[in-house]
Structures are given as C-alpha cells and as structure tokens.
Symmetry: C2
Subunit: 345 residues, 2 copies
C-alpha cells in the first residue's frame, strides 16, 4: 500500500544535527559509546567510578537516549500497542489507565489509538501500529478481519484481546461471556417478579449480544416480548433519556424493568422517568451495565452488572509480561461478572 499521507516537510526536519549521542557523552567521560550504553542498561557491569563520570557527562550534555536507535538495534521497542473503540468512554479508558500503569512499571510504554467501533479503520490502525514494531499488542473484542488476524500472527508478538472471551483467541483473551451476562440479568429480573421488560442498547457489538441474550431468555421465562430502543451511537445520559422516552411513547411498555447496555444510558433513563413522574424502581426498575464510579452515587443507586475492570487491567498486563518473559500463560481468562444489587432494580 503506497503511503498516501501528506508528509510534513518543514524547518523542524533539519533539527537533530546537533543532538547529543552516546559517543558524545563517552568522549566527555573518557570512555567509548559501548560503555555509555552499558552504564545505562547494565550499570552493574560498569565500575563505580566511570559510572559517576558518565552520569556527570549526561547531566552536562543533557543527553536523552535515542530509543528509536535502541529499538532498531535490539529488536525490542519496549512499546505495547493498544486499540480501544473510544477514548472518551470511561469503561475503556479506566482499563487503559490500569494497564498502562502496570506496564510502565516494567519499562513498557503504551501506544494508544481509538478505533471508533469501525472494522475498516481497525485494520488500517493495526498495520500502522505493527509498523512501529511493538513488543505486544492489545485489541478490544474478538472479532477481527482475516487480514488483521494474518498480520497479527505474522508479527510474532503477544496479542491480547479483551472484554470478551472465545475458545479460539488469536493468542490470549481476557474478558467475560456477554451472552451469559444478558441471560443472568433476565433471570434476576424475572426472579424479582417482573413480568415485563425492555432494553436500551447502544451500537456496540458486545452490547447487542447481551441484549439479544437478555431478550431471548426473558421472553422464554415470561412469555412477553422485550421491546428494544437502540440509542444509535454511543451510550450517554442524553441517549438514555431519549431511548426511555421512545419506549414509553412508542411501545406498550409501561411497567416492568429496563436493561440498559451502559450505566450512562441507565442514568439517563432514570432521569427521564423521574421527570415524567415515574418512580424507580416501584413503577419501572432499571439495570445498568459496567458499574461505573457514579453508579452508587445517583438516586436511586443503580443496580448494575459489574466486571472487575481492575482485574481486567492487571490480567491483561500480566499476560503480556508473562508471554514476553517466556513464562507459561493461560490463553483464556474468564473474569466473570456480578449483578450488583442496589436500589434501582
């Protein structure tokens, strides 16, 4: 594929002519480049005295190692690529925060990109990322194009897929069973005595799978159809309000429970219900998904499906580190989920 980007081409490209290298530092410290390199990556192999002189030379020159050259020579970039659907969705970014922090402690940096729920742009991004020769790569979800799978396998690096599980991961996956989660919520609400239910779902493949599992199971249990309001784009309070309004205005759903694909839309649904005079959960119960930080702080406190995101972050990071270190690793990690009963359902 020819490179069709416009390349920047200005005065700043001429910089670097004067940048300090290990050779410069070495000259100042009276040693060669190799010793400087060693002083930085294997300080125990360099005498106390030279170490000090090199350190002084580094301070004096303001030397900043060139990780690009280092990566080329060593074939290790200390970079881990990560692709997430959205940069603004806390569900993904809070995971990333944990993941990055954990990896940083082991000397790795994370190169993060947003794929935007779009398969085509994911393919392009995977190629771009692989060109940076990351030491590992993390993807969201388990559905990737054949081309992507091929490139990933060809890269010969650990690949972690998160937020979902499958028996056939590219390499490693860490997540939970969305189908089971949908079913579980259906059973929970049925057990609570609800005869009717509806769903509010965002345009997210995993959310849609939870929704369909929920609808299928709830219909089986209660013999009543489950209307769905698709919020169209990504979940938000506004989208949740709109969807709730739509359900009330355009379906015969008037009492029962609503299963939302996100805590955000659940929160929006509750706000809409309140402004219309419905009581939650007495008139209509609401279940969210994700257990976001605010779930316990709204009124009524939100009943929701919780997945241990901290553990997700740790497991994903550890899997990467284990693989990189050649330690044995499980290829499928099922985090499970938990229905957190609060007051809204």
């Amino acid at each position: 594929m020819p490179n069709d980007h416009k390349m920047a081409d200005g005065i700043f490209n001429k910089r670097d002519t004067s940048r300090v290298t290990m050779t410069d530092v070495g000259r100042l410290a009276g040693v060669t480049q190799v010793t400087v390199s060693r002083a930085l990556s294997h300080p125990d192999k360099v005498s106390k005295d030279t170490l000090r002189r090199i350190q002084d030379a580094i301070d004096a020159t303001g030397f900043v190692p060139n990780a690009v050259a280092g990566a080329l020579a060593s074939k290790r970039s200390n970079l881990v690529s990560a692709l997430i659907p959205s940069l603004t969705n806390v569900v993904y970014t809070s995971f990333m925060a944990t993941f990055s922090q954990h990896l940083r402690q082991h000397g790795y940096q994370v190169l993060l990109s947003e794929t935007g729920f779009d398969a085509a742009s994911e393919d392009a991004l995977i190629a771009t990322h692989l060109s940076r020769r990351p030491d590992a790569i993390l993807l969201t979800g388990i559905h990737h194009s054949d081309k992507a799978r091929k490139q990933l396998q060809g890269a010969g690096i650990p690949v972690v897929e998160i937020w979902d599980i499958t028996d056939d991961p590219i390499d490693i996956c860490v997540g939970f069973n969305h189908h089971a989660a949908g079913r579980a919520v259906a059973e929970y609400l049925k057990a609570k005595g609800h005869a009717f239910a509806a769903t509010i779902t965002a345009d997210d493949e995993r959310a849609l799978r939870r929704q369909s599992a929920f609808a299928e199971r709830f219909t089986a249990l209660s013999q009543s159809a489950v209307p769905d309001a698709n919020t169209g784009g990504t979940a938000s309070i506004g989208a949740g309000r709109e969807a709730m309004a739509h359900l009330i205005d355009h379906s015969d759903f008037r009492k029962g429970a609503v299963f939302c694909s996100s805590d955000l839309s659940a929160h929006g649904a509750i706000i809409e219900l309140h402004t219309r005079g419905y009581k939650v959960p007495q008139d209509i119960a609401v279940v969210g998904f994700g257990d976001q930080d605010f779930a316990g702080d709204i009124d009524p406190a939100l009943t929701t499906v919780a997945v241990d995101r901290l553990q997700l972050g740790h497991l994903a990071a550890n899997s990467v580190l284990d693989k990189l270190a050649g330690r044995p690793t499980k290829s499928v990690h099922d985090l499970g989920f938990k229905i957190l009963t609060r007051l809204s359902a």
Copy 2:
C-alpha cells in the same frame, strides 16, 4: 539516569529473524531495496510497471514496513507525544480524540500518556517520551519544572501547552484564562441576585485558580465569605455529593449559589441537594465547569462554563502541523470561554 526497569527477556525476543524487509520484497519484485522504499514514499518516482510488481510482492510476503528503521534513517518519527493528567477524565480525552484524529489524517500517530496531576512523574514521562524522538510534543498546563523546560527546548521540536495561557509559553500555548473565568462566574451569580456563594473544587491546579478568582471577586462584590469544599482527589459525582453534604453540614452556607470545578461534581451536588429536599436553583443554584455532554440532559439542566474543546483540538493540531511545515504560527491562542445559562443557576 541508569535504567532501573526490569527488562522483559523471553522467547519473544528471538522473533524477527524471519521478518520481511524491503530487500526481501525487492528481490521478489526484481528491484533493489531503494526502489521499494521509493515505491512506498514517492510512488510517482517509480514506473507503473514496477509499482505493480512491488505491490504484488508486498501482498505475497505480508510485508509491514519497519517504522523504527525509517525513523532512525530519516530523523522523522511521525510520532507526536501527548501528556494529559488523566485518561479517565472526558474533558481531556475528548480533546485527545479530536487532536489524534486530526493528526492521523496527516500521517502522525499520537503517543499518549497519563501524568496523574503529579509534577515529578511528568518530568520522568517527558524524558521517556523525548527518547522516542517525537516530531512534536503536547503538554497539559503551563507549569513545568525547569528541568522539563530545558529538555523540551533542547529537543528542538514544537511544544504545545494546552488548557491554559501565558505570556511566556515554551513554544505555543492554546487555552484560556482561568482567572478570568472564575471572576466571570462570580459576576454572573452576583448579577443573578445571589448574596451568598460557595465552591466545590477538585485537586487540580487550574480548578484551584478558578476557585480563588471566583472567591476573591464574589467576596469583593457581596462582602460575604465564600466557603470551599475541596473534594480531595479528582472530580466525580460521588465527590460532588460528599462536598455538597460537607458544605451544608459544616458551614453556614444554606442558600445561594455553588460554583463547582467540574460538571461532574456539580451533578453530584445537585443529586445531594435533591435527596435533602433542596430545590435547584430556587434554594441553591449550581454552576458547573466544562459543559460535558450530559450537562444539558440532567435535571435541572446545568448552567456551566463552556470552552470550545473541538476548537482546542483543532487549534492544537494545526499549530503542530503548521510548525512542522515551517509555516508561521501564533504562539498564544486564547480560546475564551462562555457561561452557558441553563436552568440550574
């Protein structure tokens, strides 16, 4: 500084022995490495026929260019570094989404890290990022250590500071005047007839500056002290509730207006007021900050201070691109702000 990270050291380091290079592609297409390189970056300088053969060879081999080697040879990484305080705060991530997208269209990738509101870790991160030889770097805020400034200047690349303005930027800054925003809110609330006010502020340097400007101005206008509830960490609905509760329980603030450092804490404050039976804005008015996507969707709709984040993203990206292309650029961009009057104040 010696590298004290544990280095991963496992089986995966041996990979790459078999990775396809331009030389391999060239051999298959009957040309040399140079022609392959040209085919990729200057396709117009290669004949139609060879171009096709090279393309075929690329497809056949699954060649993925090595951007690391490219960067070393060309001294351009096509990377732009970005440091933001928090990955989970939509205020920063929504900016990043715009910024990254814009730069991606011009062939640049963004290397994003979270600094965590902590100056020491910012210094370390700046060094790490500079070692990757980014073509430009973006920082949040205008307060950086001397060491950081020195390193940044030595890097000889465009530096953009966002979310704040100063007469003395390292290179370029894009933001607005937080002091002026605080004053403006004070004047707005005074004009609305409020004689009393309080503030709810998170532990964020810029938020604290808005708060102190607000308090100073409001006190000057109304001769009444402005109690503050610091939420301690980062803003959230929960922190807002707690702070509001604290104000009511532990100060003599009972009526008037509350200026919150974030829409999130404002939302929390409103929830707390509602559960305690206060009417918003009749009993207590609430002003937020940031105009997050939900601000208009809660009840009552939130009056807040809006900054054009989209424009911030575009301006920051364009400034970088202009600098890189050697075009003339303004060094200080004041975005201004706007008080968005809705129902909560």
